[in-house]
Symmetry: C2
Subunit: 284 residues, 2 copies
C-alpha cells in the first residue's frame, strides 16, 4: 500500500475525486468536513470509509493528509491539525494559489512544515461537492508540485507517487511561477467570465438578453458557475499575480477598443488573427 | 415546394447548413462563392445542386436568395445581384448585425428592397466552411427577423416559413434592439475571448502558459478560434452597440479590480455570487 491511512480534509469535487482515484492504493480513507450530510453521502458513495468532523481526529494515525479546503481556510486548518499529526505524516494541499498556502503552512505547521508538499492538480469542473466527484478527473491532467528548499525528499516522492497513481502528469515549478501561470490561464479567465455575466445581469432587459445567448456564450460563461467563495479566496490569496494579469489584459482590451472606435479594420483583424492562431495552435 | 429555386450566396457554415436543412422543401439549390474548390466540395457533399461563381448568374430565376457573406461584403453583393434578381425574388441575409445590412440593402437593392427580409439565425460554431455545415444546426435555435415598416408581408412570411422548416424558433425584433442584444451576448464575449488569448500569446512564457490551460480555459476561449475576418466585419458593422457594451464591461471590471486590489472579500464574493446565480438561472 502506497498510503496506509489517507485523511482528506474537505471532501468536495477535488478531495472526493482524489479519494476515488486512490481507492486501490490506500488502506483506509478518512474524510473530514463541517457538513455531516455531505460526509454521510461520501460514505454512501464509497468515496471514503468513514468520517470525522473534528480535523484533529481525522488526521490521527494518518500517513498522508490532504488539505482540500478553500484557500481562506488553510491557515486555520493547519493550526487545527498540527498537534494531532503523526511524526512521519506527509501533508499536502490542492490549492489554486501556492504562495499563500506555503506561508500559511510555514506559520502553522511547526516542525511538520518540512513534510508539507504544496501541490495543485490542474483539473476541475464548474461543479462543486462530492456528488460531482469522479475517479478519472485527474487522468492525463497536470499536477504542479512546488517543493521548497526545505521540503523533505521522501515526502515529496510520496506526494508525487500518489498523484501519478491518479493518472496525472506531475511537474515541478517554483511557487512564484505557479502563481503567475495560474493567474494567466485560470484566475483571469474566471474573473472575466464572472464580470461579463454580472454586466449582462445588471442590464435592464437581462432576462430577454440571456434568452438569446447561444452555445458560444454558454461555453464562454461556464466557469462563472464556479463556487463564489472558493474564487473569492483565490482572488485574495493570489492578489498580486491576478492584478498584474488584469493590468496586461486591460491594456490589450483598451487597444482593441481603440481599434473598434477608430474603425481600424486591419488592426482589429490582426488582433483576432493572432489570437485565433495562438488558440488553434495551443488548444488544438 | 416552399422554394422553387434557392440561391445561397456564400456556402459556408451557415449557408451550407441552411441548404442542408432545406433539402426537402426546395426545387433546386444553387450555390455561389469565390472559392471554386469549396463550391465543388459543396456539390460533392450534396449540399447544393450546382454552383455559379458570378453572383448575378447565381440569382437568375431564384425565388429565394440568401446572402450569407461577411458583413463587409454585403453592400457590394447587393449591388452585384440587383439587376439580375427576378421581380418577385425574396432576398434575405444571415448577418450578425442588422442595422448595417439594412442600410446596405436600402442603398443597393433598389426596388427589390421591399422584398428584403433581414434575418439572423442565433446559431453557429467556432468552425468555418461548408465541411463544418450540418442540417441540424438551427434546430431549436432562435432566428431573429427584423422586418421594416416597408417590408413586403408575403416576403416576410416566406422567410419566416423557411426558417421554421429548419426547426428554428422564429422571433421578431427591431433592428436596433437586435444589435444591442447581440452586442451583449455574442459580440462582447468574442472580443473578450480574442483579447484574453492575445494577452497570453504576447507573454514571454506563452508556450508554457498555454500548456497549463485546463478544460475551463478551452471552453472559455473556444470562440477565439472563430473567423477573424467575419468578426472584424462585425466590429465595424455593429461599432456603436459594441462600444457601449465595452464601456459597461470596463466599468464592471474596474469595480472588480478595485475590490481585488483592496482585498475586499465580501465585495468580490457578492459580484461572483450575483454572476453565478444569473448564469445558473439563465443557462441551466
Amino acid at each position: 500500500m502506497l498510503i496506509k491511512r489517507l485523511s482528506i480534509i474537505g471532501v468536495g469535487l477535488i478531495g472526493g475525486s482524489l479519494a476515488r482515484a486512490l481507492r486501490g492504493v490506500c488502506g483506509e480513507i478518512v474524510g473530514c468536513g463541517r457538513n455531516r450530510a455531505n460526509l454521510q453521502k461520501a460514505v454512501e458513495l464509497g468515496v471514503i470509509d468513514r468520517y470525522e468532523t473534528v480535523p484533529a481526529s481525522a488526521v490521527n494515525g494518518a500517513d498522508m493528509v490532504i488539505v482540500a479546503v478553500p484557500l481562506g481556510s488553510m491557515a486555520a486548518m493547519f493550526a487545527a491539525i498540527r498537534d494531532a499529526l503523526s511524526p512521519d505524516a506527509v501533508i499536502s494541499d490542492v490549492g489554486s494559489a501556492k504562495a499563500s498556502v506555503v506561508e500559511d503552512a510555514r506559520q502553522h505547521l511547526g516542525e511538520h512544515f518540512r513534510r508539507f508538499v504544496p501541490a495543485h492538480p490542474i483539473a476541475g469542473t464548474e461543479k462543486s461537492g462530492v456528488a460531482a466527484s469522479f475517479a478519472e478527473l485527474f487522468e492525463k491532467r497536470r499536477v504542479i508540485i512546488t517543493p521548497l528548499s526545505e521540503t523533505d525528499s521522501a515526502a515529496y516522492a510520496k506526494v508525487s507517487a500518489m498523484w501519478e497513481k491518479t493518472g496525472a502528469d506531475v511537474v515541478d515549478m517554483s511557487v512564484e511561477h505557479h502563481d503567475k501561470v495560474l493567474a494567466a490561464t485560470s484566475h483571469l479567465p474566471h474573473l472575466l467570465a464572472y464580470s461579463l455575466v454580472d454586466t449582462l445581469a445588471k442590464m435592464e432587459a437581462s432576462t430577454e438578453i440571456f434568452s438569446f445567448a447561444a452555445g458560444g456564450f454558454r461555453d464562454f460563461t461556464r466557469i462563472a458557475s464556479s463556487d463564489p467563495r472558493m474564487w473569492r479566496d483565490i482572488c485574495i490569496a493570489n492578489q498580486k499575480a491576478i492584478l498584474e494579469m488584469l493590468a496586461h489584459f486591460n491594456d490589450d482590451l483598451a487597444d482593441l477598443t481603440d481599434a473598434v472606435r477608430s474603425g481600424d479594420a486591419e488592426r482589429i483583424e490582426n488582433i483576432f488573427g493572432r489570437a485565433k492562431a495562438a488558440r488553434d495552435n495551443f488548444c488544438g
